[in-house]
């Protein structure tokens, strides 16, 4: 009621102080930094400008962005194509070991993707298992150059991020009322129609969540191109890392990071719209 509630006050203040200082303020600082310029002697020169945003249209940056979006998009697409049927089968199965099967997807979700990428390195490298196997089988005589290529990066990204696609999809499909599918089939819809008209629209929030959880990290996990792509493949993540730690051009790095954040904001918006739409429709039904 209207009496002073000390517990509530302390909780709210603690949370806001912490998240305000370590989450809100830093992001505001990034925004400000993106509007400064690299200084000659100090890290930044305190003078507001939008020049970094114009510089983004420089061919180098544009090329990295296009390349990043292409690689991350390909990786996201592959994850969706591979992950959707998997999540669907897993969600609909009534197998005795369903819990275990789910756990086997959750484990890679939480395991360090650095370690998992490293596992891919050991497989693909010149003296790795694939080359050794092929030479031993007599298929090839010289080791193939598998590592340090765009495809190696995509394999690494898919391997690392597939669980991030499967789990949101699984959670969404699991909630799906299976009677709807029976009803649609009963009304004479073909399997394809059921998928297109019933399953796909209702699992859209899961699909968008999965895309968000794969696409954004795919653009920013700089150590995967580092380990699997050598110096050849640069992603937005590498660009930011480079600007901050090597070129020490923090304003430019911040600007690139802002673009990444805007991309995230856009995807969040799409996600919210689709999930509130479906929730609303379902509530109206009830």
């Amino acid at each position: 009621m209207r009496q002073i509630n000390i517990f509530k006050k302390i909780s709210v203040i603690t949370i806001w102080l912490w998240l305000g200082f370590f989450a809100l303020v830093p992001n505001v600082l990034v925004m400000i930094t993106s509007m400064l310029q690299q200084g000659d002697n100090e890290l930044v020169r305190l003078q507001l400008t939008l020049i970094n945003y114009f510089e983004l249209f420089d061919t180098i940056y544009v090329r990295i962005f296009v390349h990043s979006i292409w690689l991350a998009g390909l990786c996201t697409f592959l994850c969706l194509i591979v992950g959707y049927p998997f999540a669907y089968i897993l969600a609909r199965t009534h197998h005795r070991y369903k819990g275990l099967l789910l756990l086997l997807v959750i484990i890679p979700f939480w395991t360090s993707s650095l370690i998992r990428s490293y596992a891919i390195v050991t497989i693909l490298k010149a003296k790795g298992i694939i080359n050794s196997l092929f030479i031993w089988l007599g298929i090839i005589h010289q080791p193939l150059q598998l590592l340090y290529s765009g495809s190696a990066v995509v394999v690494g990204l898919v391997y690392s991020l597939l669980p991030f696609m499967i789990l949101p999809l699984y959670a969404n499909i699991e909630k799906l009322d299976m009677r709807l599918i029976d009803a649609a089939r009963d009304l004479g819809a073909t399997k394809l129609t059921v998928f297109r008209k019933v399953i796909l629209p209702l699992t859209m929030p899961g699909i968008i969540a999965g895309i968000m959880l794969v696409f954004l990290p795919a653009m920013s996990m700089f150590y995967i191109p580092d380990l699997l792509g050598g110096a050849k493949t640069l992603l937005v993540g590498n660009l930011i890392e480079n600007q901050f730690l090597a070129a020490r051009n923090w304003p430019m790095g911040s600007t690139v990071s802002i673009i990444l954040t805007l991309l995230m904001g856009l995807m969040l918006l799409v996600y919210w719209r689709s999930s509130t739409k479906i929730n609303k429709e379902q509530q109206e039904l009830i």
Partner: protein, 255 residues
């Protein structure tokens, strides 16, 4: 799709997930420095790991940060979940959104934003900066884990407790914590793995004097692949595996 094709599809994906890891673990016992051909079983690489005093101190750093960050994040994440679930307050919607954004935002964005914060505040990078960063990125995960568990509770339980004269702190201590402890422990364990495995954020916010395991692995791999890394990665994977299994058991526990 028929049963067989479903089964083979699932098997294929699981193989994709686990074969590389299994190979990594198997070859951490291979008695050869470079070759991928099997040269016999050895504990050699693990013995080298244990003997490496540098690595020991780095592992201890990781453990300390992991335990402290997980504990602090669990306390604050639980408070966040309880606050969001039970109270109306100014900025509640913003807090909800912020938690959600923190979960989906790319690690690198948080990494550089904290780096800028520390540099603006003139805090030198090291143990503290790393710890604060880890606490921050763990809070939302605990909050979400605990919150989703709370939504399964009957809201009347809290009202009943209030009706019987319990103050909010009593409700927190005597009702919420006992009812949610599996989720809270799961939240702690997941935070611990997150902290133990984080590369990107730590990469930006730790100083040269305070190395941690994932960054050490990263730089070791960049320098070249050695069997010790296989052993180290196998150990780290096993630890994560154990923690994830325990945390999932906690989350499935029914009251």
């Amino acid at each position: 799709m028929n049963r067989l094709s479903k089964l083979s599809y699932m098997t294929l994906i699981y193989l994709f997930f686990y074969v590389p890891i299994v190979i990594l673990i198997v070859y951490s016992f291979n008695n050869s420095t470079y070759s991928m051909l099997w040269h016999g079983f050895t504990w050699q690489w693990y013995q080298q790991l244990i003997a490496d005093t540098d690595l020991q101190s780095i592992a201890i750093h990781s453990l300390i940060v992991g335990i402290l960050a997980a504990t602090a994040a669990t306390i604050m994440g639980t408070l966040t979940a309880v606050t969001l679930f039970r109270y109306q307050f100014y900025g509640k919607k913003l807090l909800h959104t912020l938690i959600f954004i923190l979960i989906v935002s790319p690690d690198i964005v948080m990494g550089i934003s904290l780096l800028i914060l520390y540099s603006t505040m003139k805090i030198s990078l090291g143990f503290c900066t790393l710890l604060f960063a880890h606490i921050t990125f763990c809070i939302p995960f605990v909050a979400v884990t605990v919150y989703s568990r709370m939504t399964g509770l009957d809201k009347n339980i809290f009202e009943a407790a209030r009706d019987l004269g319990a103050k909010d702190f009593t409700i927190f201590l005597r009702i919420i914590i006992p009812l949610l402890w599996p989720a809270i422990i799961a939240g702690w364990l997941l935070s611990f793995t997150l902290s133990l495995d984080d590369v990107i954020i730590s990469y930006f916010v730790t100083g040269p004097d305070f190395q941690i395991l994932p960054l050490q692995i990263f730089s070791m791999v960049r320098l070249g692949i050695t069997p010790e890394i296989n052993a180290l990665c196998s150990v780290m994977f096993s630890i994560t595996l154990l923690i994830v299994i325990v945390s999932q058991m906690m989350l499935r526990k029914k009251q």
